[in-house]
């Protein structure tokens, strides 16, 4: 190597021994590292801001109280009906979304011929569903579940008053189930792919049928991944507001929701109401922070667990590949 060459003269200058100080390398790593740091800082600022401002206001009384009509008053308000409403709608959603999502994922990994156009279309539809704006899901829920299924159901049952042809918890849950379907499918598929082929082959070689193999060997192995999918779907759905705006959420309800045709109050929607409809934002600020903290604890704790499980599944997958 020609030691006299200046560093700027081209690619040739780099020998086997590293240059004394590679400025462009330093700049590049520095800039990309800085971008990463900025993103992490944004995350940290949001979380810490909410944690510090919300923690002092959070109390058992706040969590367990059903507020009266004026829920902007810090002394008497609470978030019990919102916690119940959010939990209820998310729970009903999982009943629908998990079986459908898991079965679709089983089809895609275990049965679907990899090259067929149909498989490709199913995958494209899943990806597409993941990208439909949440407000469009809300419109879909209103147009399909309430105005089409609900109204026809009312006509069929001869209900004198609309029972199903109006916003209801069931419709909100179903709308969210459609929205979170891709989340469950993708997570389940990932975990199914992580299961070694040898396991399937061994089971089949021992005389088990394909279905037996799936039910008794594959699914138990894939359980962590399916749980991840479920948890991710729950945490995504718990924080979504736009899809339930027209399909079931209520501004105020005096009692807790107890059947599927009830409307419900919701944590995310309550955050929206508190921050935009408050007559005096300075007085509402503490309870607003506390409500946001409750919502975050709910969605974030779930998310955190899911990400931990997923990291483990991915590591397993990489070890196999």
């Amino acid at each position: 190597m020609n030691a006299a060459q200046s560093p700027g003269s081209g690619v040739q200058s780099r020998g086997f021994r590293a240059a004394k100080f590679d400025f462009s390398s330093f700049l590049f790593s520095g800039l990309t590292g800085l971008a990463t740091a900025i993103i992490l800082a944004i995350l940290a600022v949001i979380l810490l801001n909410i944690l510090f401002n919300g923690w002092s206001v959070l109390s058992w009384h706040f969590i367990s109280t059903i507020p009266t009509k004026d829920f902007f008053d810090a002394a008497t308000t609470g978030v019990l009906p919102m916690i119940v409403g959010t939990t209820f709608r998310v729970f009903v959603m999982t009943i629908f979304v998990i079986p459908v999502g898991v079965i679709t994922a089983i089809y895609l990994t275990e049965y679907a011929p990899n090259t067929s156009p149909l498989t490709r279309i199913i995958r494209a539809a899943v990806n597409n569903l993941a990208g439909v704006p949440s407000i469009v899901f809300g419109l879909f829920g209103l147009g399909f579940f309430i105005n089409f299924i609900g109204k026809n159901l009312d006509a069929l049952l001869h209900n004198p008053e609309p029972v199903w042809g109006q916003p209801a918890l069931l419709w909100a849950s179903l709308t969210l189930a459609v929205m979170t379907l891709p989340v469950v499918i993708v997570a389940t598929e990932e975990s199914l792919k992580a299961i070694p082929m040898g396991l399937r082959e061994a089971s089949l070689a021992l005389g088990a049928t394909k279905l037996e193999t799936i039910l008794k060997i594959i699914l138990p192995q894939a359980l962590p991944g399916i749980m991840t999918g479920g948890i991710l779907a729950v945490s995504r759905a718990a924080g979504e507001v736009a899809p339930i705006l027209f399909t079931g959420v209520a501004y105020y309800m005096a009692s807790l929701p107890h059947k599927l045709s009830d409307q419900f109050m919701d944590l995310g929607y309550h955050v929206f109401v508190l921050s935009t409809q408050s007559p005096n934002i300075e007085k509402t600020r503490p309870i607003l922070y506390a409500t946001v903290l409750v919502l975050l604890l709910l969605t974030f704790a779930l998310n955190f667990v899911a990400i931990l499980i997923r990291a483990r599944v991915r590591k397993k997958l990489r070890a196999l590949g």
Binding site: T32, A124, V271, I307
Partner: protein
């Protein structure tokens, strides 16, 4: 996967397999249903069969028998099915309501040419119009009062404005972070940073909106010193927070899927790590990064709660420091007051259909790009 199907002779197994197949079609079915039912509610606007004009001709009830069923149907704005189900008395009372309704309109509107315009026509949705009391043709979205003005252009501009600001803010950060995490960071560091950035996508958009409204808006205002506290700029930056995780994940995925042999070859030829990342890995993965940006665009233009909470005044302006009302915001804010089946309701569904079409195109193109890229990088599969 590779194993071929076993015993065809088992009927139960066969049935279950068919069932699994049918269920797996649900994703396709759902996309079709979404399209069908959003478009169905917006159909009268497409077909131009709805009339939102305030002042319409009123036919005296006495002349009811002179009208043919088709004329009657059109006059009352009914569907064929509705017309058949109604008896004579109902139709008569509908006509009475129409006559009374028209009689109640004050002379102020009766003499206003605007009141005779069907504002749901295409040219009023997309082109500027000179309304009474305005001195030049303008694009106006104002679905309140007696004459509902439904011009889409301010909303489209509002959506584009916030989305572009969000992308300009998010894409450089997210792509740079993806390069850092996938190419430069040590494995241990990577395992910590990646989940942390993914955690950002776990923050509900209503919380991002809340944060932007209560904290960020004031901070940004004190930095940039603009007049309107809540404007498209704040909304755009907040949108960026929601877009970062998606752009990051997809580009990181694309960068990681570039085969190790590329990197090894580049390093063996004497390139430094950053040269490898910048000149070998990034060009190979660039379609994936582009797809990530397209998906980020779809996410940003469809985001509702953030823009709804931060700014919502409908102003026709390209300035980023003015307020903006996006398409999503409009749907979310106005659906509650729109009468089910009325023209406002249908217009909002029309906006939803537009949004669905845009995101559908974005998702599909991103899907195709990523598919081709993986195909190329992994060889035939």
């Amino acid at each position: 996967m590779g194993i071929h199907r076993g015993h065809r002779a088992r009927p139960v197994e066969w049935l279950v397999e068919k069932f699994i197949f049918l269920v797996s079609l649900s994703a396709i079915l759902m996309v079709l249903l979404i399209f069908l039912f959003v478009a169905r509610e917006a159909l009268p606007i497409f077909l131009g069969t709805i009339d939102s004009a305030l002042v319409q001709d009123a036919i005296p009830v006495a002349q009811m028998d002179k009208l043919s069923p088709a004329q009657l149907r059109e006059y009352l704005g009914l569907t064929d099915k509705q017309l058949k189900e109604m008896d004579r008395e109902t139709l008569r009372s509908l006509m009475e309501v129409r006559v009374e309704g028209q009689a109640e309109i004050t002379s102020e509107f009766r003499n206003d040419p605007d009141a005779r315009i069907n504002t749901t026509q295409w040219r009023h949705l997309l082109l500027p119009h000179q309304w009474t009391d305005y001195d030049k043709p303008e694009f106006i979205w104002q679905p309140v009062g007696q004459i509902h003005k439904y011009n889409f252009v301010p909303l489209i501009i509002g959506s584009l404005k916030t989305t572009l600001i969000g992308l300009l803010f998010a894409v450089p950060l997210a792509v740079a972070a993806a390069i850092y995490v996938s190419q430069l960071a040590r494995p241990r560091l990577r395992e910590t940073i990646k989940p942390a950035i993914e955690l950002l996508s776990g923050i509900p958009s209503v919380v991002v909106g809340f944060f932007a409204l209560l904290v960020m808006a004031s901070v940004l205002q004190s930095i940039f010193g603009y007049e309107t506290r809540l404007n498209a700029f704040v909304a755009g930056i907040a949108l960026g927070f929601a877009v970062i995780p998606i752009v990051f994940s997809i580009s990181e995925d694309a960068l990681t899927s570039v085969p190790q042999s590329y990197t090894h070859a580049a390093l063996a030829l004497g390139a430094s790590r950053w040269q490898t990342a910048w000149q070998v890995v990034l060009p190979a993965a660039i379609p994936g990064v582009f797809a990530a940006v397209v998906l980020g665009f779809g996410r940003a233009i469809g985001e509702t709660m953030i823009v709804l909470m931060v700014c919502s005044a409908s102003v026709m302006s390209w300035s980023i420091f003015d307020s903006a009302r996006s398409i999503t915001t409009t749907i979310a804010a106005e659906m509650a007051e729109a009468v089910s089946g009325g023209h406002h309701y249908r217009i909002l569904f029309m906006l939803g259909a537009l949004l669905f079409a845009v995101t559908f195109a974005a998702n599909m193109s991103a899907d195709v790009i990523i598919h081709r890229l993986k195909h190329r990088l992994e060889g035939k599969r």
